[in-house]
Subunit: 340 residues, 2 copies
């Protein structure tokens, strides 16, 4: 029992294959009656167009690609990507586009995957995640003329379109909130250096603290893992004039930081205030629940997907600024201890 093709439909309907193609794709060239008859037959025999044949005839592959360059353990624990992916998916499946996923070991491997996908005509476009300050993927994608959507920015995207959000502004909101609570000794546990959004946040933090006269403000670079986040926290809390508030670049590190504080006998928020970036459900899983900078990540992904499809279609697409993350105060923040 072979899979039905347009030839089968054409035979049944007594028309040519071309007519079937026109009818099924909603193109002019067939009468309304014929079209209806053809569609009915297609449904009856459970017809699905062979995607390979379609792609080969110059049409699109109807698939876009997403590469993830993080080690397995980190990926699993980082809610950001899965939330992003489900948003991307929602948009793609509404348009019958498939998502091809590949987990890679390093950015060079990512480039190789892009080349292969495009060479094989396996995808019509790709997403670029984890944008770096000097990102080697950008010029390669430009040269390949592979339609792409950068998730990150602003800037550093060459001629590629992107979606981004203002992390600097979000950081300011968080730090000003801590200052309003009375904190002077504020530290930050940063994400992986080299990633653009990490650098943007670091610069915003440094600038703001200088402006506010918070001379002890310091960023400890980390790598988004709980392990490193915990270690950075231990170091900060062991220093002679320990911070009274710590801002973390993701929620995983913030939770690890909370555990370290508890382990060291510090009470949160009485002795230490904690603010997380990325307000995933994790933040409300712990006690006290974490004050966090959050925004709608699935919506961000959906936006990126919609715009990538526009780029694929050849429509003009300009850079898009998504909503800025906003602060949700919860139990992990409060005034600093009296004697500070």
């Amino acid at each position: 029992m072979k899979r039905p093709t347009i030839a089968d439909i054409a035979r049944r309907a007594g028309v040519s294959k071309g007519a079937v193609s026109y009818a099924l794709n909603g193109l002019p060239g067939v009468s309304a009656a014929t079209r209806q008859r053809i569609i009915a037959i297609a449904q009856e025999i459970g017809f699905n167009p062979n995607s390979a044949a379609r792609a080969l005839s110059g049409a699109a592959a109807n698939a876009v690609g997403l590469t993830l360059c993080r080690p397995a353990r980190t990926l699993g624990i980082e809610p950001f990507f899965m939330e992003l992916i489900s948003g991307v998916e929602a948009e793609l499946s509404a348009r019958s586009y498939a998502l091809t996923l590949q987990v890679v070991a390093d950015p060079e491997a990512e480039i190789a995957v892009f080349r292969r996908w495009w060479g094989e005509r396996r995808v019509d476009g790709v997403f670029v995640c984890d944008l770096r300050v000097d990102d080697r993927r950008i010029p390669v994608l430009e040269r390949l003329q592979l339609p792409a959507m950068v998730i990150g920015g602003p800037g550093h995207t060459g001629t590629l379109a992107n979606v981004w959000c203002d992390d600097g502004a979000a950081l300011v909101e968080a730090v000003e909130y801590l200052v309003a609570l009375g904190h002077h000794r504020i530290a930050r546990v940063g994400g992986l250096p080299g990633l653009l959004h990490t650098e943007i946040r670091t610069r915003a933090f440094t600038d703001l603290c200088a402006r506010l006269g918070l001379s002890r403000a310091v960023t400890v670079p980390s790598d988004y893992t709980g392990e490193e986040g915990g270690r950075a926290t231990r170091r900060l809390l062991s220093s002679p004039e320990r911070p009274t508030a710590i801002l973390y670049d993701n929620d995983v590190m913030a939770i690890a930081g909370l555990a370290v504080a508890q382990e060291m006998g510090l009470s949160v928020p009485a002795d230490l205030s904690i603010v997380a970036w990325d307000d995933s459900a994790l933040c409300q899983l712990v006690h006290p629940a974490l004050t966090a900078l959050g925004r709608d990540i699935p919506a961000y992904g959906a936006n990126a997907a919609r715009r990538l499809l526009a780029v694929v279609a050849g429509d003009p697409v300009d850079d898009f600024q998504d909503q800025t993350a906003h602060l949700t105060p919860r139990g992990s923040t409060g005034p600093p201890p009296r004697d500070t």
Copy 2:
């Protein structure tokens, strides 16, 4: 500048397109010298076979599909799937197979996706996750003759091959450990009812507790989310004879349970012991770190992928039992309070 095809290579090498195909695919029919020359040219001009053309010529699509049927927020926070996916990926990319992912709303939508993928010849096979007791996907896949690998079991997979692990045995290890510590009042916060592995664990728990004479043992059904897991914990800890130990069906619920205990002023493990299922990095992120039942999930995924490709290739594949999860004791378990 068009993408190079085998015709370009054939022209350059002064051979037929057929010869190029044979040479590149390592098939007999060309001399070693010709083969080498052709391969060199292919590399030089950056040739990648068009995957659509290949698929259309009867070869495989070189892609397999994975559907995920969980809401966005749950997916993001549940490390299991990303770990599974990265294991699957590792195996697939080593064989140049792509992974096509789709997030769906419900099992019926999953079936529709399977039908479409197979009809479109977009995938050569699919994974089946979150196996249910009476899983409607199984008979559909059998009827479609779509190569599939069930991740779950044992049993309930019809004629489809599967990979599974003995959750009953793992549960016994965890409960016996708690009993050895002196616990009598042991409760369990279970995962989503209807999922096969949830049911297997529930039955194992009920049977074992009956055998051990733990008359107060109870399973509170939940849904794997932190929210529900916390709620179930609150209910258990508010009962007149509250449990001294709780076993959770995943780590997310266990962490939520830990937070509820802290919020209620109970000390872990002095007042309450906690055991998590799924030993993701989350378990070592909190304080105290969670005693957990863990196993190598990426390896599980890699195994499933290897075997799915075997099914696709038409090789005989029988059911495979993966390693049983083992218990890693950490700070969240200890003897029960004296007066119990």
